[in-house]
Symmetry: C2
Subunit: 300 residues, 2 copies
């Protein structure tokens, strides 16, 4: 990637963040809607400077399939709502017990545990309400989006299943197999669903949807590998969360199993595989290709 290309991509991503933020702004009750405390807590965590990688993936996937997937950013919001709920619950004292997230105190630190638990519940619930009331796509597509999101967030091969494996894996011998089972579910499922939901929204044909699935899987794995690597390499200030926690909690991570250098190589392999999966698409999928590159090259 040349310096000019990198600059252009940064600009595109920044613009997409604004698009997603506007859509989230519209779909979440304002802070002055009762009960105010929960809406404040939901917004506090939603607008904490997230990268919006999941909605951006969904929008780019929809654009790879269709020239004008109007309203896709609304559907894409649902992914960010689910992602944010998972962070809030993940940070709770009973789970990862983290005080810092995206450079700010975590939700339960600011609003207390009770409201943090309920704010997470509310974001998850709202994600499905948002999909239910989309006015820009047919009921058939909407219900497929609901099912896709619910599965990706669920226990069998989904996000919660990955969470449980992650929790129960703490202190266990970090094997390649355990690692794979954790990450394919914990972060991989929702990233894969992001690409697929964009495709579903835009009316992708079967082969297009399959290609987006494979792309999403590789991008998901690349994302997690780099996440693990950054947890080791970067200081807390850069990450905006407590660095080095994986090791302290004896988490099963890529660096723990493969070491840093091999982990980076693996992320690069996933990036290449993600590109390969998109070969049936024309240049309308270029943003998806660039996002795969960005995910591997990011520093936070």
């Amino acid at each position: 990637m040349t310096r000019a290309e990198r600059g252009e991509l940064q600009q595109y991503l920044a613009e997409q963040v604004r698009v997603v933020d506007r859509a989230i702004e519209e779909c979440v009750p304002r802070e002055n809607v009762a009960p105010e405390s929960i809406h404040r807590a939901m917004r506090y965590s939603l607008f904490a400077g997230g990268k919006r990688i999941r909605p951006i993936l969904a929008i780019a996937a929809a654009r790879a399939v269709s020239d004008s997937p109007d309203g896709i950013e609304q559907a894409a919001c649902a992914l960010e709502l689910v992602h944010t709920y998972s962070l809030i619950h993940d940070d709770l004292p009973a789970l990862d017990n983290d005080d810092l997230r995206r450079g700010r105190p975590t939700c339960h630190k600011v609003f207390g545990e009770a409201i943090a638990i309920l704010a997470g519940d509310a974001l998850l619930t709202l994600a499905f309400e948002v999909l239910g009331r989309l006015c820009t796509t047919a009921p058939e597509q909407k219900i497929r989006l609901v099912e896709e999101l619910a599965r990706a967030a669920g226990t069998v091969g989904g996000m919660i299943g990955g969470q449980v494996n992650d929790l129960e894996g703490e202190g266990k011998r970090p094997t390649a197999r355990l690692l794979e089972s954790i990450h394919r579910a914990k972060t991989g499922a929702l990233l894969r669903a992001s690409a697929r939901m964009g495709g579903i929204y835009a009316g992708a044909a079967e082969d297009e949807l399959e290609a987006l699935s494979v792309y999403g899987e590789h991008v998901g794995l690349a994302f997690q590998i780099i996440d693990d690597v950054l947890d080791v390499e970067e200081p807390s200030e850069a990450l905006g969360k407590t660095a080095g926690k994986d090791q302290a909690q004896q988490k099963v991570t890529f660096p723990a199993v493969y070491g840093l250098e091999r982990s980076r190589e693996m992320a690069e392999d996933e990036r290449v595989a993600a590109h390969l999966a998109l070969r049936i698409f024309d240049d309308r999928a270029d943003r998806l290709r660039q996002i795969a590159d960005f995910i591997v090259q990011r520093k936070t």
Copy 2:
């Protein structure tokens, strides 16, 4: 109600509990599906002897509208999944901190807080997956069910909103207005949605759906009033949960605002109003009428 009628109703309710239990059994991953701990926790709380009042309401509402609403029990399960998730999270130390539920140790007491939080999350997620994969109704209806359930479980006039008001109401002066705002949302919204979802599933006309809404509101309020009354009157063993907790936690309840006698009268008024709402229905709505009676006369 004569003794014979009461016996027949008991039999009907017991049979409905079996129907609902079978449907839940089918829609929740078995205990030997990985990760096993979370599926065990979900099932522990789901099969703890609940009355299944929400699914039973939904099924009866569907039958009031249509002679054979095939597959309604699957859709009705989603309500019990959401109800059970709310109980698990409600019982957590950070919220009501309850050790006993339906006569058994609460989910977090048995499986730990982390798994209890995730099991609640998983049940909520699964509820939408269940609605998404219903094969017995059209996409239009399915997506309406998703939206209905999400709204009823949400923050604005829904279950979570009621929870927040309930939490923040502890220790406040119990006024009629605060009480109404808590209970209409906390238990009322999901009971109302139960009646409505049955109607939606069965293809209710607008006036039928409106009647079911009004019925559901009255039944919901009656249910909550009696719940509050039983918390005062009945010993823990009969309730299967810690009795007298409302008062200990200075909750805003009907007996606290109106006293026991007036509370019982109010529940009776709600029962009568529930019957009145059903006047446009023929005898196919008799089960709904009986359920309203049962809710007011129950002892647990």
